[in-house]
């Protein structure tokens, strides 16, 4: 599924229109307190919360043939469960279980098209899984202070590039500690229906 119509972020109405290129190339949309324009780098180095929901897209593949199918499509797979590897344009592949993977890339990236074609034939042993989670980016040297208020996992000890399935502010989330050397950053996937709640909660904590 790759409609020409862009995906709407579940927190679209909470974003103030300020966009910028984030720590990497993907467009990150920001919310208050930067109502007057993009923050400077110093602010970003300190702490910010950004929304990647409308600029990224995901697909899940599950089933006994998931790994072989993805490999046949030239997708490099992580060896361990909860590990990730880079994919497409600033995208990633995460192994959720022995027979389940999730792939995320930028919405502009067409790397999903051949995958979708293969999945649309619904071969046996392969299940395409819809993934419409919101994607947030919590970034900056104070990110762990925020994480410690919502999550019982010691994220500072999580190896970069490792996905953690946990609860943040009592909602189920997948949190990836980005393997970026230049800044501490967490990618947070949360059910779209809970995105507004989690965004507001994190925003309140950030103040």
């Amino acid at each position: 599924m790759s409609p020409a119509i862009p995906r709407t972020s579940p927190i679209e109405h909470l974003l103030n229109g300020v966009t910028r290129v984030g720590p990497r190339q993907t467009e990150v949309r920001l919310a208050s307190p930067w109502t007057d324009g993009p923050p400077d780098n110093a602010a970003l180095q300190n702490l910010f919360l950004g929304d990647l929901s409308s600029s990224t897209t995901k697909v899940g593949v599950k089933g006994p043939r998931a790994a072989s199918f993805l490999e046949s499509q030239g997708v490099q797979l992580p060896a361990e469960v909860y590990a990730t590897v880079a994919y497409g344009v600033e995208g990633l592949v995460a192994k959720l279980a022995e027979q389940e993977f999730i792939l995320e890339t930028t919405a502009k990236d067409r790397v999903f098209d051949p995958l979708e074609n293969g999945l649309s034939e619904a071969p046996a042993g392969l299940l395409r899984v819809e993934h419409q989670e919101a994607t947030f980016l919590l970034c900056g040297r104070r990110a762990n202070e925020v994480m410690s208020q919502v999550c019982a996992i010691d994220m500072s000890q999580v190896h970069p590039g490792t996905l953690v399935l946990t609860r943040a502010a009592v909602t189920s989330c997948a949190i990836l500690r980005e393997p970026w050397p230049e800044v501490l950053a967490y990618r947070i996937w949360v059910d779209a229906s809970l995105a507004e709640y989690l965004w507001e909660t994190l925003s309140t904590i950030i103040g």
Binding site: K62, A122, E130, D154, I205
Partner: protein, 967 residues
């Protein structure tokens, strides 16, 4: 009277920041760094509160966070602890638990009748007549207690958080500092926590003129604060310790749930009072409290005092008092010999009057018992009893007590540590501790400064070794030696005056004696009967003496007597700290914003927010709902049904799995068709329903009820594991949004947005199609829940708002309107469709609910089948049927759960009811006894305020019984 001293070395107050505050209507000055109680004392305010039960005047007692009678409130908060809370500018405080203010407390008269109120008096006096007890209870609660909750205050959110550390060191005195440095030097990360504002522990206030100890203190503090492996948290209590070293840390603003790998407890000791007559009045305090006043807050405790001592610490306190300018009229030593004590020697050199082998019999109260004006001192006989006939009165305005200590061992107790009584130090000391937990310093009975440093270092190295760091060589373990820092029994009976064991609960010596005489001779029983140790300080300055008293009454040892259980929390923790930010997740659909802009009124359904109806200006709720429903019947309506549970079931065993989960059959279901599904539990109780779509041979898409979806998905996962089936389950509830386009115009609206053939022939009832709607890939399903031509449109959540908006735009010419949950409920009610959870309860089986048609009884197996087979052989005890009011009825209407009564017997109840319907009369569903279920039967429904109305049982559906419109 200003009792502020000149600047003291190491004082905690900042004289450059004076603070103004108010107390009981008076204006006072203090400094930043003051406690409320220290600032009041500095201003000459010695009476700072009233006691819990007798409303006796009370002042500073411990100044260590254990003073339960110097408790205040302001306009926003109550139970503000004077010896814990720092002074803030603008505070306007008053004492709690008074009627008419602290100085004119009308309830102080209770003290005069105290003989009528022995411990447990209310158990004995107010048991009959029983109906009066609530009245007595109310009165007692008004007379005794603490502060009143301010119900109107806005809740404060606190940043409760999680923390992690390798080693937690509790207490930053010499032992704790030494331990922290020893661990950190091995490269282990340490969190050093102390409840006070500054590090140093007893070295900060227990000076005795020893400058070396102060220098050492500063040196250790500097090293700890500069150490890269040590993180320091001051003003932080270890409020509770739980299994696996889960520790609750509480500071002014937050509760931290800390997970530590190991813990060193160097929490020190708590000074214990002596028990003598009037030992509770303002002016009587622990020597450590006086020393804290002097050294930390630069406040002179008294003009002239008597010091009651039984250890070297007492003599050290006397020296501190002397240097602060308090005249020490006499040192009263319970012992016959002070031993080889350098502080005692210095006291003698100063020429102070020392009365060995003596005890204070009572404090002589000043006017109104708001102060003391003397101490009655008696020698002790060889039998340890007071020689009252040899008493003398010594003038003084204060009494300092230094007769012993009890370990601040709560963290150790709470993690499962065991203590035993060591007569060498006359103190409980830890005997057994769990893995990864260590103790050091005075909590372990080690009192000498050098010994404490060594003990702390040893504990630090030991914990480092435990975590795999450092060498195996450890310093030798310190053995405690005499003389004992605690007196074995500093408790003396007084014939008339109250001699308090527990100031929190106003319990005096005779209360414990009486409780013991009544048979409460076990420490846990006497605690519960007398409430000793159950006040705000949780017995920190009461429990040890109560154990000593009980041991003596039972003629047993301390170990035989035992101690009460130490439970969290160590200090009272405010509810706002426990509540934290109060996370309440709310789920919103992708169209939530659209609903808001369309003036939707929302209702909570499970964890979801759903539009109940769309408000129309100048129109009431009921009319709006009826109009929405009528619009669906006449034109077209669009409803957000994204909240439905949506589960994909795929794999070779998908069909077999669904056959087991649901009551219906799936083997012969055609691809591209949907069917209604019903699920029961093992007891045959209806637990969920929905539709099942067959997408391919081994791939189904099923829906579940909004509020039951999460539980049902878990149930499916559980069964899949138990049955070991080759099936993949995916909950896509939040990933797929859904909308129900219904009404006679719905086909026309939909056709504008899709290339799918939606004609009756091309897309029949119960059919399923895949195609694009408004450019978005969608699943289309022909459903009829509301009884009209209808389509459910399922699309990816991220594109749902677009699809919704396009449908509303395309439907404009067809007069499309959104409709909410209430209109849907009315529409389905007119069709006689039940809602699981609304029209069924925790006992409803399919036969009662007229759902026998959905049960394939000849299947090999499904969950609940055996029970349903049994139930099917039995006569029904109730039946779900329709009920309606006569057209034009104008009386009160039934509501859900109203009972149906016939001949004085309950024969049924209402499950759903709509007073207004598109059919022009009120209608609903009811459970009734089968004898009353025939159509046309008149039944009597009891509505609110006891009114009874008549209604008629009817068959369902009420609307379109031949189902012509939905097909």
């Amino acid at each position: 009277m200003n009792q502020r001293l000149p600047p003291q070395p190491g004082e905690w107050i900042d004289r450059s920041q004076p603070i103004s505050f108010r107390f009981e209507g008076g204006d006072y000055q203090g400094y930043c760094g003051d406690l409320i109680s220290s600032a009041l004392w500095a201003n000459g305010v010695h009476m700072q509160g009233r006691s819990f039960k007798y409303h006796r005047p009370r002042g500073i007692y411990s100044l260590a966070g254990h003073d339960a009678n110097a408790v205040f409130e302001d306009e926003t908060k109550t139970n503000i602890r004077g010896d814990l809370v720092g002074l803030r500018s603008g505070m306007d405080l008053r004492a709690v638990n008074t009627k008419g203010g602290l100085h004119h407390d009308r309830l102080s008269i209770v003290d005069r009748f105290s003989k009528l109120m022995p411990v447990g008096f209310y158990y004995k006096a107010f048991h009959t007549p029983r109906w009066l007890f609530p009245h007595y209870e109310k009165q007692i609660r008004q007379i005794a207690g603490l502060g009143a909750i301010r119900a109107g205050q806005t809740a404060q959110l606190t940043p409760k958080d999680y923390g992690f550390c390798q080693v937690l060191v509790v207490g930053a005195g010499p032992s704790g500092l030494s331990a922290a440095l020893a661990v950190a030097d091995q490269g282990v990360d340490v969190l050093l926590v102390d409840e006070h504002a500054h590090l140093g522990g007893s070295l900060t206030w227990q000076s005795g003129g020893d400058e070396k100890s102060q220098e050492l203190c500063q040196e250790l503090v500097n090293l700890a604060q500069a150490h890269q492996h040590i993180t320091v948290r001051t003003k932080t209590q270890v409020a509770g310790c739980y299994a696996d070293l889960w520790v609750a840390l509480v500071d002014d603003v937050r509760l931290t749930k800390l997970r530590a790998q190991a813990m060193v407890v160097a929490s020190g000791v708590i000074e214990q009072p002596a028990v003598f007559g009037n030992n509770d009045l303002p002016g009587v305090m622990l020597a450590s409290a006086a020393q804290r006043l002097i050294h930390l807050y630069a406040v002179k405790p008294w003009q002239q005092c008597v010091a009651l001592v039984a250890n070297s610490d007492g003599y050290r306190a006397v020296l501190d008092l002397h240097r602060a300018g308090s005249s020490v009229a006499a040192v009263v030593d319970l012992r016959d010999d002070a031993g080889d004590c350098r502080f005692a020697a210095q006291v003698h050199q100063l020429g102070m009057r020392v009365l060995m082998g003596s005890m204070i019999y009572e404090a002589v109260p000043g006017a109104g018992k708001r102060s003391i004006r003397g101490a009655v001192v008696c020698p002790l006989g060889a039998d340890g009893r007071l020689r009252e006939n040899q008493s003398q009165v010594i003038d003084c305005d204060g009494i300092a007590m230094s007769v012993g200590w009890a370990p601040a061992g709560a963290p150790l107790y709470q993690v499962g540590g065991k203590f035993s009584y060591d007569t060498t130090v006359e103190q409980l000391v830890p005997r057994e501790m769990p893995d990864n937990v260590f103790a050091a310093g005075r909590v372990r009975g080690v009192f000498g400064l050098d010994e404490r440093l060594t003990d702390g270092r040893r504990a630090g190295l030991e914990v480092a070794r435990k975590l795999g760091h450092g060498s195996n060589e450890l310093p030798e373990k310190i053995s405690v030696t005499g003389p004992a820092p605690s007196h074995p029994y500093p408790v003396f009976r007084h014939a008339k005056k109250k001699n308090f064991i527990d100031l929190d609960e106003d319990l005096h010596f005779i209360d414990l004696v009486n409780a013991h005489q009544e048979g409460f001779d076990n420490i846990e029983l006497i605690k519960r009967y007398s409430t000793v140790g159950m006040g705000p300080s949780q017995g920190k300055i009461a429990n040890m003496n109560s154990v000593r008293v009980l041991a003596r009454l039972n003629d047993k040892s301390i170990d035989q007597t035992g101690t009460t259980t130490s439970r969290p929390f160590y200090q009272p923790v405010s509810l706002e700290h426990l509540a934290g930010r109060r996370f309440h997740p709310l789920r919103r659909t992708p169209m939530h914003r659209w609903h808001l802009e369309a003036h939707a009124e929302f209702v909570h359904v499970g964890s979801w927010l759903r539009p109940e109806y769309y408000a129309v200006a100048g129109q009431d709720r009921e009319t709006s709902i009826l109009q929405e429903a009528s619009h669906v019947r006449e034109y077209a309506g669009l409803m957000d049904v994204s909240t439905l549970g949506k589960i994909e079931v795929a794999g070779p065993d998908a069909v077999s799995f669904l056959e087991r989960i649901y009551t219906g059959r799936f083997a012969k279901q055609n691809t591209g068709k949907l069917r209604y599904v019903l699920a029961c539990d093992e007891m045959g109780v209806v637990i969920d329903d929905g539709i099942a779509v067959r997408l391919s041979d081994n791939h189904f898409y099923v829906t579940a009820t909004t509020s039951g979806a999460a539980d049902f998905y878990r149930e499916m996962q559980r069964w899949a594991l138990i049955w070991d089936m080759d099936v993949q389950l995916v909950d896509v509830t939040g990933h797929i949004a859904a909308m129900n386009l219904a009404g006679p115009q719905s086909r026309e609206v939909l056709q504008k947005l899709t290339s799918v053939d939606v004609s009756p022939e091309g897309f029949p009832f119960l059919g399923v199609r895949r195609g694009e709607v408004a450019g978005i890939p969608a699943s289309l399903m022909r459903v009829g829940f509301v009884g009209e031509l209808g389509y459910e449109i399922h699309v990816p959540a991220g594109h749902a708002a677009h699809v919704w908006t396009e449908i509303m735009r395309a439907g404009a010419s067809s007069k499309i309107r959104p409709f909410g949950v209430e209109a849907q409920r009315l529409l389905r009610l007119e069709k006689g469709h039940l809602i699981v959870g609304q029209d069924t309860d925790a006992l409803t089986n399919p036969y009662e609910a007229n759902m026998a048609w959905a049960v394939a009884r000849k299947k090999q197996f499904f969950v609940g089948q055996r029970t349903l087979q049994v139930l099917n052989e039995r006569p029904l005890t109730r039946k779900l049927v329709g009920v309606k009011m006569a057209p034009g009825y104008r009386g009160p209407f039934p509501e859900e759960c109203h009972l149906i009564i016939e001949q004085g017997e309950m024969i049924g109840r209402v499950t759903s009811f709509a007073p207004r319907s598109t059919l022009g009369y009120g209608l609903g569903l009811v459970f009734v006894h089968p004898d009353w279920s025939e159509a046309g039967t008149k039944v009597c429904i009891c509505v609110d305020r006891g009114a009874k109305i008549e209604a008629e049982i009817t068959s369902t559906p009420f609307y379109d019984p031949d189902d012509l419109r939905q097909k």
